[in-house]
Amino acid sequence: MQMPVPNPAILAKKAAVVAALRAVLPADAVIDAPEETRAYECDALAAYRAQPLAVVLPRTTGEVAAALKVCHGFAVPVVPRGAGTSLAGGAMPTEDAVILGVARMTAVLEVDTANRFIRVEAGRTNLAVTAAVESEGFFYAPDPSSQLACLIAGNIAMNSGGAHCLKYGVTTNNLLGVTLVTMAGEVLEIGGPWNDAGGFDLLGLVCGSEGQLGVVTEATLRILPKPEGARPVLIGFDSNAVAGACVADIIRAGVLPVAIEFMDRPCIRATEDFAHAGYPDCEALLIVEVEGGEAEIAEQLGLIRQIAMRHAPVEFRESRSEEESRKIWLGRKSAFGAMGQINDYVCLDGTIPVSALPQVLSRIAELAKTAGLEVANVFHAGDGNMHPLILYNANLPGDLERCEALGADILRLCVEVGGCLTGEHGVGIEKRDLMLTQFNGVDLEAQMRVKDVFDPLWLLNPAKVFPLDLSAERRC
């Protein structure tokens, strides 16, 4: 992955930039000592690092605006940062960029259960949003796996999803409004606790724009009443194709589970060794979760059982208690950790049409074999969002490159069958150079024109999302 060469003129201005930032921000909000800025040199795509020029950690929207005005004045690139959990390099800095972290802005500003929304500062963690409304029987639906750590600001930037978005949608479907600070330091209110935009849907544009259009400092989020109950069922199959067909039949039958998760054999084995969840030893495993009152859960699970039985599962395990539910989810939730125990891995995020599932899984197996690498699959099957984990050895020279090449092949396959490069992680630097497999130059030009409007100097997170050669002229 290439990053642009740092601009020497900006590196030379470092002292002046830092002094100007210190002049408008509290002393502890500006960090420029190399030993301290090192903590911000990468995000969860840890293979790529660069030490930023400086880091600012404002506490208010006003401070964010002040910091951006300074950087705008010096024409210094700014990389917004939440918790740094991006798997795509969305928060990775360059040496000539200032990191603007919103992690100190964590307050709950308003809870309104009658109108079903919460307004928070964008540095609050995803899970802490739900925690603020749980006692009143509500929750915030998007649930990325990193929800304990990741911040709402980053969720909005990447339009994060999660396991339960089959029913509840992703961030953009649960976001009502934002306070957005532009690169020029202007503070805008977009949307609010009402439905839809009165003019252009700028909110929809900002969500998922990977920190390239503005810095979100506050967010109004839709909250939902908690269902009465939820129960998973575990279904094992002796082939991926049959499991895939079962997913299609469940969807077709008109049951809409909140989650349908899929794990293949390599993943089942690894998690079983790690978490001892008691999963059956089989080729493919589905976890299907439904919600509602007791009778409703029974009705839906009855239907799912009927459908599953037509596909001769090797196992159909309905949870009968909280403890059994926990065990069913245990393996799935520890899948990534389990993989991390046995190997280094890269986690992909392409989406495919659900109907292409069996075909894509067998193609991935072939590609992996050719590449001489192992791939484990664990993903959100209901919406076709795949997470192939490619295992490699970081200490083996050339292994990361082989792994990345295989990853690119798999993502191209996703596009080929009608899907996309990224379902919920974002493009960042990771998929930037693959964008032309999914879009043509005209499509990307249209997107870049949007950035031209919000950030004419291309200072916000500039080296991301678009192939570097396509954005070269715009980036100064």
Binding site: G198, G199, L203, G254, N385, F439, V453
Partner: protein
């Protein structure tokens, strides 16, 4: 002009000498654009329908009725429940699916399932330069690149002409029932609807019509609906005893979606999208015939001509659109937000083809 496919559409836009009046079925004459007529109802056809993937891709000029019939054949539907405004706005014609998207039309189920903009997973359009642009795709989860799909939804054709739209679908409900709380005024109704929407019973519609009262819809598998009808009735007991509509449920929601109680009334039609709890006070200030949807978050109102409903209703958190009548169509926005909108317009439609006569601003 009536292009028959996307390349003819692009050709027509490239060749346009002046402003264009883009129309699908002409059933939502809200933006009164001027210029040569460009009809999109030749851009028809089902490009892809995969029931097992809950995915539909169609030409933007395809009649809404055709789309609905196709989906009904597979017991599926557009979850956001597109509604028809023709009778309310005094327009005859056949609503097209592209028009639904351009106006971001969502019906009562918006409170549960989300809006048209939430169900739209991909779009192709021709911008004012005559270039074909694609955004999104055909899969439900897609964060690849900027979400121009959202930008196009509800942009009333100001940035380009849609040629193809892709939706995430929903299974049709096996059964439905509606709780009707009669005799509630708009204020009491908003309180009852807030209680229902804040309950765990998955309410899929919450509206109020004069002469009917508050309506709350439950959909799903038969036993599940029966269970929730009982539980929700009990939870709302303080608002009165609910009458349960089963056979008549569908007709009630069709009437609400089409804003039937306001059909044929003289005056201008306004549509407020606002914070639901503010609805009772806004309704009182407007003091005119109204219909409420989305738990009070949507107010339809008919006022005499010449009255500035925004001033009369103020203060409120949200926006009001003048749907039928003379005046400023869209809620004025903060100058910085307007500037962004104008910037986008200049990029996507540098020749001003799609903004003729829309000096009111979007």
């Amino acid at each position: 002009m009536k292009p028959r496919d996307e390349s003819e559409l692009a050709e027509a836009i490239r060749a346009a000498a002046g402003p264009l009046r883009v129309a699908g079925g002409g059933t939502r004459p809200v933006v009164r654009a001027q210029g040569d007529a460009l009809h999109t109802n030749g851009l028809t056809g089902v490009h892809l329908y995969e029931p097992a993937a809950l995915t539909l891709v169609v030409g933007a000029g395809t009649p809404l009725a055709e789309v609905e019939a196709l989906l009904a054949g597979e017991r599926q539907r557009l979850g956001f429940e597109p509604v028809r405004w023709g009778a309310l706005l005094g327009a005859v014609g056949e609503s097209t699916i592209g028009g639904v998207v351009a106006a971001n039309v969502s019906g009562p189920r918006r409170v549960q399932t989300g809006a048209c903009r939430d169900a739209l997973i991909g779009a192709r359009f021709v911008d004012g330069r005559g270039e074909v642009v694609k955004s999104g795709g055909r899969v439900m989860k897609n964060v690849t690149g900027y979400d121009l799909v959202k930008l196009m939804t509800g942009s009333w054709g100001q940035l380009g002409v849609l040629s193809e739209v892709a939706f995430k679908l929903q299974p049709a409900a096996a059964s439905e029932a509606t709780l009707v709380l009669e005799g509630l005024d708009a204020g009491e109704a908003v309180a009852a609807m807030a209680a229902a929407l804040g309950s765990p019973f998955d309410v899929s519609g919450a509206g109020w019509m004069p002469d009917v009262g508050a309506m709350l819809r439950l959909e799903g598998l038969a036993e599940s609906v029966a269970y929730r009808v009982a539980r929700l009735s009990a939870a709302l007991a303080r608002f009165g005893t609910a009458r349960i509509e089963r056979e008549g449920s569908g007709a009630l929601w069709r009437a609400l979606g089409e804003v039937a109680p306001l059909h044929g009334l003289a005056g201008v039609v306004w549509r407020f999208s606002l914070k639901p709890s503010e609805a009772p006070r806004v309704v009182a200030r407007l003091d005119c015939p109204v219909v409420l949807d989305w738990g009070g978050g949507l107010i339809w109102a008919v006022l005499p001509e010449g009255i500035d409903a925004r001033a009369l209703a103020a203060p409120y958190s949200g926006h009001a659109t003048l749907m039928r009548g003379k005046g400023v169509v869209f809620q004025p926005e903060a100058p910085a937000v307007t500037a962004l909108g104008n910037g986008l317009r200049a990029k996507f439609d540098p020749r001003g083809l799609f903004s003729g006569g829309v000096g009111d601003g979007i």
